[in-house]
Symmetry: C2
Subunit: 200 residues, 2 copies
């Protein structure tokens, strides 16, 4: 029997292979057969770790991307400290990187009606989804507002939607066209336009 550590390594290898498979073949072409081959394991072993493509894709998004969660945590920890606009700008840069690299997966799922239906059910069952990072960001902005660093009338849910949306959109657009503005400059500009007028 494989040890816990061995099983974990196999799982990681499969997630990595899934990511490679998506980059190479797209969502539609990244079959469990191809993923198993890239991971150097049998399809049977793959199915011991994951129920299917949908669960694999969710694992890639949650575990294999430049990671939105740690950036949100860093922003949360910095509440009330340092320069608010600089803190949020750093987060926006991380969010752009995350959405740029997760776009081929998230998009591939939206673009495949059958896969999307299964994926929707899985998200609803686990109470996760693309709206959650916005909620976390909104709660962080709310803490800053309550701490007096944002205007008391600030609508933190709307602000979080605007910021996250601009990062998501930028991450997608870079796949279609060459954008002249570097992501760092873009991040700085949107954060200043959004929060500058209401920063206290």
């Amino acid at each position: 029997m494989p040890t816990h550590r061995q099983a974990e390594r196999t799982r990681e290898r499969i997630v990595e292979a899934t990511y490679q498979g998506i980059l190479e073949y797209g969502i539609a072409g990244a079959t469990t057969k191809r993923i198993a081959k890239l991971a150097g394991c049998s399809e049977a072993l793959l199915y011991k770790h994951f129920s299917g493509k949908e669960e694999l894709f969710l694992a890639v998004i949650l575990e294999h991307m430049p990671a939105l969660a740690p950036s949100l945590r860093r922003l949360q920890v910095s509440t009330g400290q340092g320069d608010l606009l600089a803190n949020v700008t750093e987060f926006a840069r991380a969010a752009i990187a995350f959405y740029t690299s997760s776009a081929p997966i998230g998009s591939g799922i939206i673009g495949d009606p059958a896969l999307l239906a299964t994926f929707r059910g899985m998200l609803a069952g686990q109470d996760v989804g693309p709206h959650l990072p916005i909620k976390v960001l909104a709660s962080i902005l709310r803490a800053e507002r309550n701490g007096g660093r944002l205007a008391p009338e600030a609508d933190c849910d709307a602000l979080a939607s605007l910021l996250m949306g601009a990062c998501y959109h930028r991450g997608h657009m870079t796949h279609f066209v060459e954008l002249p503005q570097p992501p760092e400059d873009y991040a700085r500009a949107i954060v200043r336009a959004l929060l500058g007028p209401i920063t206290r």
Copy 2:
């Protein structure tokens, strides 16, 4: 020989069939064979009107969606007139509708590496792309700023990116999860949060 009007009708039927094909089969499954069948014409006739899938998909986005361009024109025409926040909110509602219905196409393209490569080349050659509506929106906001309805220091490019990004993101998220806030309320909230503090 078909008249100009007949040829135009055939073209429209093919674009409509492409849209139906994408909804039913996804981008990957919407083959020219299936599209021709849905349009009730031969593949040969389809290829007389379009060079291939990429051109068909672009036609669907540009001609068959709830249309971003007319909404942008309406907003442009209303420059300096009526209530600025109300005008922009109406535009945001239209943008959300556009991005919601174009998501399966745009996403399907990002999710398919081979298709994306061809599509990128086509966009670059025609100098079009998903960044253009942001530029138009920015120019409208700039006119409002120059007319004194927005604060003189407003960064209109960044504001346009934020607004369009939030509409795009919302349009995509609705495919993954049930969002409790109606799109009208969402549109009103983001426009107020974005422009409220800098409206004069």
